[in-house]
């Protein structure tokens, strides 16, 4: 696939998959063995990834990802994005704080020769999200 198609896929990854929770778009854009790797967890199949998207929508009401900038070539892409939502469920053992949260992050993506997403490595601002939901205090309290 070309650079433009890959940029479009990353835009849809953020808006249709993460913001709208669209499972059909997951099936369209993502390889069955998609690896989604975060600093503290990972999924290794498309079904595990669907579960993660679903869970995150339960934890963060109105979950929205805005792709701010995308760099792409014929096999890879990187995206700087902003996440926002309301923390209404348990996240990393932190109970719902009912606070509106927002963090930035960057994700690196790889595409298969067929143009499906096969791997993504995420660097998100877990530190700031923990601070926003009062999780740092919980770390000290054990």
């Amino acid at each position: 696939m070309g650079k433009k198609e890959n940029e479009d896929a990353i835009r849809r990854f953020n808006t249709e998959i993460w913001s709208e929770g669209d499972m059909d778009t997951i099936d369209e854009l993502i390889d069955p063995n998609f690896a989604f790797i975060l600093p503290f967890t990972r999924t290794d199949t498309i079904d595990e990834f669907k579960g993660m998207v679903t869970r995150n929508h339960l934890v963060f009401e109105g979950l929205t990802y805005v792709p701010n900038d995308i760099v792409a070539d014929d096999t890879k892409a990187a995206c700087w994005w902003t996440l926002s939502g309301k923390h209404v469920g348990i996240w990393r053992n932190v109970p719902a704080s009912n606070t509106d949260v927002s963090i930035d992050g960057v994700t690196f993506f790889w595409f298969s020769p067929e143009g499906k997403l096969v791997r993504a490595i995420v660097e998100n601002d877990v530190m700031d999200l923990m601070r926003q939901v009062n999780g740092i205090k919980m770390l000290y309290e054990g």
Partner: protein, 137 residues
């Protein structure tokens, strides 16, 4: 500048500046100040690349980066990196811990006329502070 030329500047950033500790090249590869977009949760938010280099080398003088992946398009270059370093000096107002840490991240650079003008930085600050014992695991 071409995409390849921009990638070459960013490689100098990683290898000559950080790994070879050649602070004198900062003004060759970057404007002053670079516009930084640090994660809100990153405690260390230096105002300039000069200050960043200076303070980082006090805390982690043996820092060594590996760039796992790079890509570029237009005026942007993205790098997936990791580093190993030993905390042998003051960091964030705390004394040295002597601990060896590993951190990973992704940076996006914007270049103009062969110099870095803007950077978006994403890394695991929580993991770093936990490795240093600053925050409980």
């Amino acid at each position: 500048m071409s995409i390849e030329a921009n990638k070459a500047v960013v490689r100098r950033y990683w290898y000559e500046l950080w790994n070879d500790k050649r602070g004198e090249i900062i003004d060759e590869i970057a404007v002053d100040p670079v516009t930084f977009h640090f994660p809100g949760g990153q405690a260390h938010q230096p105002p300039s690349l000069h200050k960043w280099f200076e303070t980082a080398l006090v805390a982690f003088p043996d820092v060594h980066f590996t760039v796992d992946i790079e890509m570029a398009e237009g005026d942007l270059v993205a790098s997936r990196w990791s580093y190993v370093a030993t905390n042998t000096g003051e960091f964030l107002g705390r004394p040295a811990t002597g601990k060896r840490v590993i951190d990973k991240g992704i940076d996006i650079f914007r270049l103009e006329d062969g110099k870095i003008v803007e950077m978006w930085v994403a890394q695991d600050s929580l993991g770093l502070l936990q490795q240093l014992g600053v925050l409980p695991s």
